[in-house]
């Protein structure tokens, strides 16, 4: 089965690109390919003028690429701070650190700071993520990506479980991240949200990229027509 066939996506520096499309259009699959989780059968990925070879999440991370996955990819039994630092744990200074002892106090403190700066309301930093609400969990995943990204952040429906205020916080954050020079790829089914946040909008349908708009030049109707196929048929 082919989930993607003929997608050509360019992400400029410090730009917010929105990916929209119906359920099953291939948005999540595209993000997984670009963040190294899935290997594509064909196609090329270029990053800062270099063609990337075999991709892995670790390699993508090394390039400064972070991802908020649609399924969040959190270790549910671990605390928010353990998740924030998963795979890059801070160790104690000195001999203990060399033996692999974790510096939980420092990680907890930094996680607290991060949640505070991002305006995330975390009831406690020690509960297992399994006990958090859906929105709080999403906030943990978003915070993790924001903490570590230096070049690109992929966000697969980062606001799907968030309340009105938290959604606004995350969208503001996305703009702030962009202003700090990091590119953001935002996937969302909420078209007003997309129009209001993105610089450019790419439309995926049945695994193909069918349209591309500057956010300033397009409205909801036109986007909807592109997503459902009415637009391409009209043009054909």
């Amino acid at each position: 089965m082919e989930a993607l066939r003929g997608v050509d996506l360019v992400i400029g520096p410090a730009e917010i690109v929105a990916l929209v499309g119906d359920n099953g259009a291939g948005k999540s699959t595209l993000v997984k390919v670009l963040s190294g989780v899935l290997s594509p059968d064909r196609g090329e990925i270029w990053f800062s003028g270099q063609r990337l070879g075999h991709q892995s999440p670790l390699a993508a991370r090394g390039l400064g690429i972070e991802t908020v996955y649609q399924d969040l990819a959190l270790a549910e039994d671990l605390s928010p701070h353990a998740n924030l630092f998963l795979g890059r744990e801070m160790l104690r200074p000195g001999v203990l650190g060399r033996l692999g002892f974790l510096d939980n106090t420092e990680m907890r403190k930094r996680a607290k700071d991060t949640f505070e700066t991002l305006g995330v309301d975390m009831p406690t930093i020690n509960a297992a993520v399994a006990n958090l609400s859906g929105g709080q969990r999403q906030a943990v995943a978003v915070s993790r990506a924001m903490t570590w990204a230096s070049k690109v952040v992929f966000m697969d429906e980062p606001t799907a479980a968030l309340g009105v205020i938290q959604t606004r916080t995350v969208l503001d954050l996305i703009r702030r991240v962009r202003d700090a020079g990091i590119s953001v790829v935002l996937i969302s089914h909420n078209l007003p949200e997309v129009l209001q946040t993105a610089d450019r909008i790419e439309v995926l349908r049945l695994g193909r990229r069918v349209a591309s708009f500057a956010a300033a030049d397009v409205g909801i109707d036109e986007l909807t027509r592109a997503m459902t196929g009415a637009l391409t048929e009209a043009h054909a």
Binding site: R61, L72, A75, A82
Partner: protein, 333 residues
């Protein structure tokens, strides 16, 4: 810790862990059992020699339980530990027999051989689980048969007895004439295993893999390598347990370990470690090891048939897993 904490201070965290932690109720059961048997037959049960007996009986199982805790927290299982114990004991005994003598050098080589034999099986288990993606139940069922088979081939089915007298002295002796060396050694293994699990990156990754293997992989944890290490650890500890068992009995006891795997798994699960992975502690496992040991001993002392022990353990095991599922359904969406 699954429940909703209300505060972040260290003392509160400890209190909370105690009140809501999965191993708390099982610790209460253990204390209850000890109290009950003490009340019924104080002189016989609550005596130093008797506690010493219980602890020695539990010590080899505790060493196996520490390894099993790691494996089960990764959402895996290791059925091969009893056979690996026997295999490592056989290799070690044969080697010490061949070298001969009663020196510490011989004993050290025997120890190294048992650890290496354990490590080899664990590495095989780990590679088959992590790289070949064969379910751990099947992999370790296979190596269970293989390790025991090789042990029988090596010995022709006759227990090896080439155990140096000095080693037997350690296996049956007491430090300061009071505390059995075996108990001290097992306790050290448990403390070290508990600290590594709770406080190091190795432990953190163990929990993460059991919670959500794909998430750990995406977060850059080298999942395959970690699984290989965890299975290697469990089998190396089984090899060490084989050496301890040699020290205790001065023979390989080939036929005596068919149920070790299930006893270790039962102890781990009774101690609050989740078969679904991601949750568990070594403290819990230690308690889980002592409940069967106390029951076995206490039932005999109060004059009940010891046949009630497996019935009681089976019941506790089922309740433990039921509670674990209940906790998970309550606190997970």
């Amino acid at each position: 810790m699954k429940e909703q904490p209300v505060s972040d201070s260290a003392a509160d965290r400890l209190l909370l862990r105690f009140v809501t932690g999965s191993s708390t109720w099982i610790l209460l059961i253990l204390i209850g059992l000890v109290l009950a048997f003490s009340l019924l037959r104080f002189d016989q049960f609550a005596s130093v020699p008797n506690f010493r007996n219980i602890a020695v009986d539990a010590s080899v199982l505790l060493v196996l339980g520490v390894g099993a805790t790691y494996v089960i927290i990764t959402a895996g299982i290791d059925l091969s530990v009893g056979s690996v114990l026997v295999f490592a004991g056989v290799v070690s005994a044969k080697l010490m027999e061949a070298i001969g003598g009663d020196g510490w050098g011989t004993i050290a080589l025997g120890l190294a051989a048992s650890l290496a034999a354990g490590l080899a099986w664990g590495f095989l288990n780990g590679v088959l689980v992590a790289k070949a993606r064969i379910p751990p139940l099947i992999v370790t069922l296979g190596t269970l048969g293989m390790a025991l088979g090789f042990a029988l081939v090596i010995t022709d089915g006759v227990d090896a007895r080439g155990v140096p007298a000095k080693l037997a002295e350690v296996g049956t002796g007491n430090a300061f004439d009071e505390i059995p060396y075996l108990v001290i050694i097992a306790a050290l293994v448990a403390v070290a295993g508990g600290i590594v699990l709770a406080a190091t990156r190795f432990g953190r990754h163990t929990y993460a893999i059991g919670s959500n293997q794909e998430a750990a992989r995406r977060a850059g944890v080298n999942v395959d390598r970690h699984l290989i290490r965890v299975y290697s650890l469990a089998s190396t500890l089984a090899g060490f347990a084989g050496f301890l068992s040699l020290a205790r009995f001065s023979t390989t006891t080939i036929d005596g370990h068919g149920a070790d795997n299930l006893q270790a798994i039962a102890a781990v699960v009774i101690g609050g470690t989740s078969l679904f992975g991601g949750i568990g502690t070594i403290v819990g496992t230690a308690v889980g090891v002592f409940i069967p040991a106390v029951l076995q001993n206490g039932l005999v002392i109060v004059g009940l048939q010891p046949f009630w022990q497996p019935i009681a353990i089976g019941t506790v095991l089922i309740i433990a897993v039921y509670l674990d599922q209940w906790r998970r359904s309550k606190y997970r969406t």
